[in-house]
Amino acid sequence: MVTYVVRRLITAALILLGASFLVYNLTALSGDPLADLRASNAPNAAQLMQARSQLLDLSTPAPIRYFKWLGGAAGCVVGNCNLGMNLVGQPVTQALGQALVQTITLVTGATVLAILIGVALGIVTALRQYSALDYGVTFMAFLFFSLPIFWVAVLLKEFGAIDFNNFLADPTIPLPVSLGIGIVLGIIAAVVSSGALRRRAINGAIVFAFVTLVCIVASITRWFSTPGLGLGVILIVGVGLAFGITVLAAGLQNRRALYAGLTTVLIGAIAYFPVQPLLDEATGLMIFILAVVTVLVGVAVGWFWGGYDRGQGMRVGGITAFLVGALVVLDRFMQAWPGYYNNRSIRGRPIATIGGSTPNLQGDFWQHGLDSFTHLILPTIALVLISLASYTRYTRSSMLEVMNTDYIRTARAKGASERSVVMRHAFRNALIPISTVVALDIGQLIGGAVITETVFSVPGMGYMFLQGISHVDPNPVMGVFACVAITALAFNLIADLVYSALDPRVRVK
């Protein structure tokens, strides 16, 4: 095991050396770093060229410059980092730090969402293979797979930002539009739901009536100007969540687990008003501590209810508590919305099309949170759409593979309930190959999404790399490359180790 890891690390270091040599020289040889100055007719062009040659050390041939760069980079191991300067004389380490923060805030949310939605869709489509839902999702997956992200991004800017902002200025939904939304969602519900035609029609009708009603109410109360959930909605949704989580995690026949979930919802509802003044003074750390406390309370409730399977009750309690807490926080964010909307820096156009945050925004924790939300929502949607497809397809095939195995047949034969077969026997094993994909994806995460960053003008890693390429500026390119390659290699190794830990049939040697 140890020899395996050491051997892998040595190989990785060699690969890194070769690849970085290649990247440096390709970048340096790909063009003329002085091109823009040669074309300029400024009187001091000659001095500027001189200065830039000095800065970039252009008199040294590129392969030798690489080794100079390598010397500086080797200093990073002993804490004396020097990755050189970029064209304008800013140290690359500093620029990297800024870009890294931007990229991670942009990509993390999108990746997590894509994984959650993709895995859920994949499981459902595998369980209902060759149904209308399966065909629909498969087609959508192919479609998203084929979408160029820059095209999606421009569409999102047009419809998600400009048109939605216009809507927010006067948030009323005309009746025909409400009916239209209701009809579309009703048809989708009817197609997606299982069972006989009659049952599907009833499902569709219920969804249609509900959605239309919600749209009309939202329009009359101008909900989008002053959004909020309120205690009533939190309570109703919470009870629904408690039932849903119990069905998935314990099965409804485990009454105590269900009671644990419901008790948690009740506690959350009782705590709703007392916690509001505390939330007014919120900071990030406080939210985190509150989240931990909430989950602990939920777990404790599950423990006190006990029953024949205490673990299940605790799981249901903990998950329900977390989600109800999230609802309360969401409600608080919504309460902050009018203040944010009327903030002078926003100028009545809350959904932003470029950048990562509004410059010089004055506001409390909640308003800053909303600000990053409005900036991140569009790039996140774009990224989720295009990466959703692969997770869905991957999970689906992995789940189908598992459902074919003998132990699933054994589980069915011994009379395990369908929930137990799916959630306990199949789902967990289907996740094993997916864990590898997820680890690899996280490894590539900090490379950033070059095109998304370009379209939405987020100054992240991909943007930095692209700038470096187009200005024939090797140092930032190498900085980004070093970060990306090291994390990718590290996560490759982690993925391997995780896989062999999860699936003992695969041994690393």
Binding site: Y4, R8, T11, I15, L16, G18, A19, V23, L29, S30, G31, D32, Q129, F142, L143, F145, S146, L147, P148, I149, F150, W151, V154, E158, I386, S390, R393, Y394, S397, L400, E401, M403, N404, T405, R412, I432, P433, T436, V437, L440, D441, Q444, G447, V450, I451, T454, F465, L466, S470, V477, F481, A485, A488, N492, D496, S500, R505, V506, V508, K509
Partner: protein, 422 residues
């Protein structure tokens, strides 16, 4: 492979006779294969029975013919009256003249841009360029990938070590970024060498070839995985004993058996190639003006979305259509070459369980234990492969905007399930 798939289809047909419930998968014709069909015939039959793939093929053929005939290609003139770089007076502010009632195309069916160039001509030219690049990337990357994968999988030892380390080096560099450097290099016009002259007149071809040089890595790994298992099979021993040379064994005996993996992944490689090209052109490092491509058209016109939306819709629509049809063709090919995916159905499994248990057991056997990730990993190679590195980064086709996009089913036949099969 042919043996196994025929066997499965026999089971499938047996199932079809035994119970009315066992319909074959929707979208896939019930292929009752008689004896004496070659692998090619079986695959062709399955492929043409796959409605999605057929639709993809028809759409792609239509776009291909439309794009290449409308604008002309090389010495051949096109039938459309405008050239893509021809400026004509604006008709009706450049709005599309295509109307449905009464149906007529008008002078500029897709509209015109700001200075009066015909958008239909530009879109056709762009589609032509994108398809050309896609095919070149597919061919170049396919050849390099197959050769590298075949040599390293067959010879193993130091050949494998060197080739796979090179693959590792190239795969670790993000494709989009490497491609940007490559196309920057391909786009150099500064020196008066023969290369610069060639590049100036055939920019698209040069771009395609350079991108092909970086796109082969995933294919090489998959082919290697396939070769690792195939080289242990009896027919290879037989060929070797009868005195066949290494090259003959590789190209005449093993490669035809690995053709499924190659074709399927080559197709998927092409669909990601077209997105790669459009993305690069969008970023300004691919096809450059005055020539045009679909990505470049979108990049040039995105600012005008609110005033001239048609400039934005048509090129995007063509990218999506081309890519979607190629993906469907690839899906159909995968089903045709690798029937593993279409056997299991939860409902049928349950209902069959009620009717008769003997048949229900059949579909379970082959798919077991061949997880998509492990398909070319250590488990597969059994005692042969010394490390598990192959598993990594074998995510699947490398896709421009998303890094590695795994399409698990792309892994073609799973070697170990094949070896288990009698």
């Amino acid at each position: 492979m042919s043996q196994q798939s025929q066997q499965e289809d026999l089971t499938a047909s047996a199932r079809g006779e035994s119970g009315a419930t066992a319909q074959p998968a929707a979208g896939i014709e019930p292929t009752v294969e008689a004896k004496g069909l070659s692998l090619g015939q079986i695959v062709r039959k399955r492929f043409f029975g796959h409605s999605g793939a057929l639709a993809g093929l028809v759409v792609f053929a239509a776009i291909f013919i439309l794009a290449f005939s409308a604008e002309g290609w090389g010495p051949f003139p096109g039938w459309w009256k405008y050239k893509f770089d021809q400026v004509t007076p604006l008709v009706n502010f450049g709005q599309p003249t295509w109307s449905f009632a009464p149906f007529s195309f008008g002078d500029h069916p897709f509209g015109q841009d700001r200075i009066g160039r015909d958008l239909f001509a530009m879109t056709m030219r762009g589609a032509q360029q994108s398809i050309t690049i896609m095919i070149i990337i597919g061919v170049v990357a396919g050849i390099i990938g197959v050769v590298v994968g075949a040599l390293s999988g067959y010879f193993r030892g130091w050949v494998e070590t060197i080739l796979m380390r090179i693959t590792d080096i190239i795969i670790i560099i993000p494709v989009l970024l490497l491609a940007a450097v490559m196309s920057q290099t391909a786009g150099r016009r500064d020196s008066g060498t023969w290369f610069a002259q060639f590049a100036a007149s055939n920019g698209v071809v040069v771009l395609g070839i350079f991108l092909g040089f970086v796109a082969w890595v995933s294919l090489a790994r998959l082919v290697r995985g396939e070769f690792l298992s195939l080289r242990e099979r009896e027919f290879v021993d037989a060929a070797r004993i009868s005195g066949a040379s290494n090259m003959r064994i590789i190209f005449k005996h093993i490669l035809p058996n690995a053709v499924g993996v190659v074709i399927v992944n080559g197709t998927l490689l092409m669909s990601s190639a077209i997105l790669l090209e459009t993305a690069l052109s969008y970023l300004g490092v691919g096809v450059k003006a005055p020539d045009t491509s679909l990505g470049l058209l979108i990049s040039q016109n995105q600012e005008a979305f609110s005033t001239r939306p048609w400039l934005f819709w048509w090129p995007g629509l063509f990218i999506v259509l081309i890519c979607l049809s190629i993906n469907f063709i690839g899906d159909g090919l995968r089903d045709a070459f690798d029937p593993r995916q279409r056997k299991f159905n939860a409902k049928k499994a349950k209902s069959r369980g009620v009717h008769g248990s003997s048949v229900a057991a059949a579909p379970v056997a082959a798919g077991a234990g061949a997880g998509p990730v492990r398909a070319s990993g250590a488990d597969v190679a059994g005692g042969q492969s010394e490390d598990r590195e192959t598993t990594l980064g074998v995510g699947g086709t490398v896709n421009p905007a998303r890094g590695v996009v795994p399409d698990p089913e792309a892994h073609g036949g799973a070697p170990d399930s094949e070896r288990k099969a009698p």
